[in-house]
Amino acid sequence: MFRQVAVGSAAIIAALAMALPAHAQEWRPTRPVDLIVPSGAGGGHDNNARLLGAVMEKYAGQPINIINQPAGGGVVAYREMRDAELDGHTIGQVSVSIVSDQFRIEGVDYNKDSYGYIGQISADQNVLVVAANGPYGEMDVNQFIEAAKAEPQAVAFGVSGNWTNHDYTRYQIEQATGAQFLRVPIKGGAQIVLSLLSGDVQAGALYPSEIKAQVDAGELKPLAHNGSEPLAAWPDVPSFTSLGLEVNLAIWRALVIPKDTPEDIRKGWERILEQAMNDPALKEGYANAGIGYAYRNATDTVELVNEAETAYRTISEAAGVRKESQ
């Protein structure tokens, strides 16, 4: 209700702005917009959408409704945003899943070519962590890898399900180093943190927001991460790339519209997103919520998506993902 008032006044301002001739040809939504999110309320995806949606409303001049569609692990949402009407009033927030799902889920009928791109909105790294008071708590990343190599299957590695990003990172570490972990599927990052604390598992590759509290308290120890930039929270933690290891499948999120949407509508959204991404309020919100800030315009996002699809295809084929059933 508070929000409707705020949005209402924003709409009036937007309407005034639209009356100016300079803006006449720029496309803007003319009624409330649905932003489809492929996950339930709460958690990283949803946080990201709500922060971004609230800031974008300012520039779009219309309310942006967050539609959570967690059904089928996001598959239903990804289909819906692909098949939405082409009038620009339904947009979608996607993650790297739009390129990786086809390799890991049976019957997925979407890929990078199913969407039109508005731009990248965030990026997150996986951080390799061990329990500080566990058997590997005193080690740095090299010592840990040596210890893991010395005793195959001795290190239980928590992953949040079958070939999720946590799992791809585990696979990349194994491939790059020759270590062999005991792969332990656990539902969700929060539960992996618990399993690390209870001593059930010894290592995991989690997002910074999932481990921040425990790292700050000295219960978990970050060893290395798979991003290309230093971690905002712990700049001293090395990246795998800097250690000469090919562990680099960090995740990203982007906004999309159906592929055949008219170009002026897509451009309109690209402009709205660019304004929102440059808004200090958004940057502050991201920083507080522990969401990695990363923006690319549509052209650069297409490049990012293409690279990611190639990377996931290569690694999935190498790992035999579809047939795997350990």
């Binding site: 609230a54 089928g72 692990g73 399900g161 929060a190 209870s198 921040k212 509290a213």
Partner: protein, 500 residues
Amino acid sequence: MDFASNIALGMSVAITPWNIFYCFVGVTLGTLIGILPGIGPLATMAMLLPATYALEPTSALIMLAGIYYGAQYGGSTSAILLRLPGESSAVVATLDGYAMAQKGKAGVALAIAAIGSLIAGTLGTFVLAAFAPALAKLAITFGAAEYFALMVVGLVAAIVLSSGPILKSLGMLMLGLLFGLVGADINSGIDRFTFGIPELSGGVSFVVVALGLFGITEILSNLEAREKRILVSAKIGRLMPRWSELRQVMPAILRGSGLGSLLGILPGGGVTMAAFASYTMEKRVAADPDRFGKGAPEGLAGPESANNAAAQTSFIPLLTLGIPSNGIMAMMMSAMLIHNVQPGPQIITGAPTLFWGLVASMWIGNLILVILNLPMIGMWVRLLLVPYRLLFPAILLFCCIGLYSVQNNTTDIYLAVICAAIGYVFYKLRCDPVPFLLAFIIGPMLEENFRRATLLSRGDFGALLTRPLTASLLLLAVALLVLAILPKIRRTRKVAFQED
């Protein structure tokens, strides 16, 4: 440092007019959505989150927390009056609570639930304030093996809870476990029993099964009772419990509060288990367990207190470890992060006014809930006087909207239709749906933890028993099972002899 000054600090924060106002808004809204079937607190909190950006972090959290425990509270109201459990913790209230309502004691049932909740909330808040850091340490000693053993205790509780013949109960229990397996298997990623429907790969949601099996089946059975022209006239009776009734349920309330406070701290399903465990306990300690399921006030008071206390202490893993144990807590965590408050071990020393203010507000919120709801009981009970031909389409419509809102998807409505059809057949065959629903809730957690425990012990089943906590929980389960089955077998024997 000491307890009294902390509470005083918390009170000084929580009792400011604005914070009381936000607490009031939160619990009122929570009660409303709790009563409406299917509309969960999670979606409401998500919707209100942006509106809290402008508030003080403490006020924002007080309001959001209020929605959560307000919804727990409202959920029992519709479970007692209409047999509509909107939340897994409200399932138990459909047993004796609904039975009481049918006997014309709806008002008494609602009042007992309210009073039990207040006492439990008080105790839960006290536990949270006094022992949070120590209990957090206990929570992380639970590994996969311990959770598996806890889920086994839960399954046994499901048998104890059921009122039907033991063979049918066991069958329903196993069927519930099987239905719980529908969806993507977390270990292998394979979709099980989904028939290629992507909407099923996330599993069937609780709301679908609960509304289908309980709420809608209940509508069908009520309608046919009227078709046969047997008028089930709604009786209203007294609204407030007698002093003697309160004295009778007080031990149950205290036991439930204690059990709930303890189980609530376990991040892997403790809150869900609280109400089941308390019902089992009450049925065990009762001198005449036969009254249970037929409107025993203890069977309502205990679980209601347990789930409220557990709701309170379920904040402990989030506040002291920074680990959100479910969607609601993930939402609370988002709210904290947005306001630049990092939940975790440092929160008590780093943001004492926020921590203690939130804790104190929970107690105030519980008080508001009771003050708000005791006068409303008369109004709720009068709902039962509305002619059923007008009432049932309304219930049905609210169910449909609630079902849609879970995933913003119509598939859940059709799944509920299937569940209702199955539920109707079971009802006709006199198969108790309670063990089915409980097993459906527990099943996925049971399988996941069992498979993880055997994986971690490298296939050594015996290793599970060497963990003291696991072994004692499993022993408890066996003891409960024996105690539950023996009297039933003896009774069947007696009946058989009489018939001879």
